[in-house]
Symmetry: C4
Subunit: 126 residues, 4 copies
Amino acid sequence: MTGPIGRKRWAIAEGYIPGWSHGPEPEMTSHEAVCILNAGDQDAHVEITTYFEDHEPVGPYRVTVPARRTRHVRLNDLVDPEPIPKGIPYASLVQADVPIVVQHTRLDSRQADNALLTTIAFAADQ
Amino acid sequence: MTGPIGRKRWAIAEGYIPGWSHGPEPEMTSHEAVCILNAGDQDAHVEITTYFEDHEPVGPYRVTVPARRTRHVRLNDLVDPEPIPKGIPYASLVQADVPIVVQHTRLDSRQADNALLTTIAFAADQ
Amino acid sequence: MTGPIGRKRWAIAEGYIPGWSHGPEPEMTSHEAVCILNAGDQDAHVEITTYFEDHEPVGPYRVTVPARRTRHVRLNDLVDPEPIPKGIPYASLVQADVPIVVQHTRLDSRQADNALLTTIAFAADQ
Amino acid sequence: MTGPIGRKRWAIAEGYIPGWSHGPEPEMTSHEAVCILNAGDQDAHVEITTYFEDHEPVGPYRVTVPARRTRHVRLNDLVDPEPIPKGIPYASLVQADVPIVVQHTRLDSRQADNALLTTIAFAADQ
């Protein structure tokens, strides 16, 4: 029970950054997050690639999650190599050099009261 | 870490297209989506079969997800062989000829503010 | 790709039937559902056992899901051996004699606008 | 079909206790829960460790789930070794000495109507 927990490759088939928001920023801003847990003792170098319906994938977006840390990456905030457009469907592949755990969450505040969704991402057998 | 990610057979036991909506179309229209990621280098030929409580399955609905693309299929929009009735329980089986990743999402806007749910579908072992 | 999809034992650690509702019945009644897909060619004889915080398990509740059918069991509606109390935490074990797929969903309409949650249940390795 | 169901190590990459609430207590208080099912015949001694973005992990928080019982642990209520701060991202590792099933749920009532999310946690292969 002492090895690192997780996998090195994860997929999120759902992706959609709502086009508008309702309520105080930044808590209630509509957003999508890739929540990453690195419970191991080595830093995780993570690459996120985004897939779309009508053009080639974009990325990788590079994120480091230090050893024994979590990082909740707001996909809205990624800018390099380019921002993810709002209001269109996309999907994500998350790859790391050490085992991590990935969970996908959206807060949608387009209407007066917010809605939430989450799921553990799909872990590749690797 | 270069092989395609996913499985060829997926199941979604929950299905329910809300009977009405509230808010601007098409963003806030109540809907269910099967979100498919094909991160591989071959096109995925996908077949969706729907299961009901009181009659034989319907389908397959055929969808192609090109290589390195995602497709968010709104189940409300499927018409061939026949539309999925609103307001009744159903379930779905999703099969492809190459590995894909499948996620199920619903936006329910029957009341003034929308609700959301999602989950990665169940992946068959093979 | 022709074998039945699923597992014979599933667990749902979350369970809570909201104590009140808001909106038209039966669509907007607060409820929890165990959504079962039996995509195989044999009827599934399903047993649901409920677990609580302060007393022994209750059940089994028996449900049959015919071959090639789904059934969305509203846990609120179960009465034999006894109704599940509202407003307290519980959990469920779902067992069948053939492979099935199990998904857990709640509609919570205690406040003016409904909230939703869902997840594919945990599948035992069996 | 008689062995205990579950795994001994689980991870939840998403964690966030909303900073405020709306509606009657305690039902509508914003909270996060780790829902644990111990369907086996031995008590489960559970340790929850929390991970953060900017400092070392905290814990373990110790919880006992007796044999054939469930326990829905409100993370807001944990105080030993220290309360989990509200309004910041965290993640959790859940370990036990016998197989358990772990599900993560949040009720967010920061706005007038509550939102919900849930997912089965990630189960280590162990």
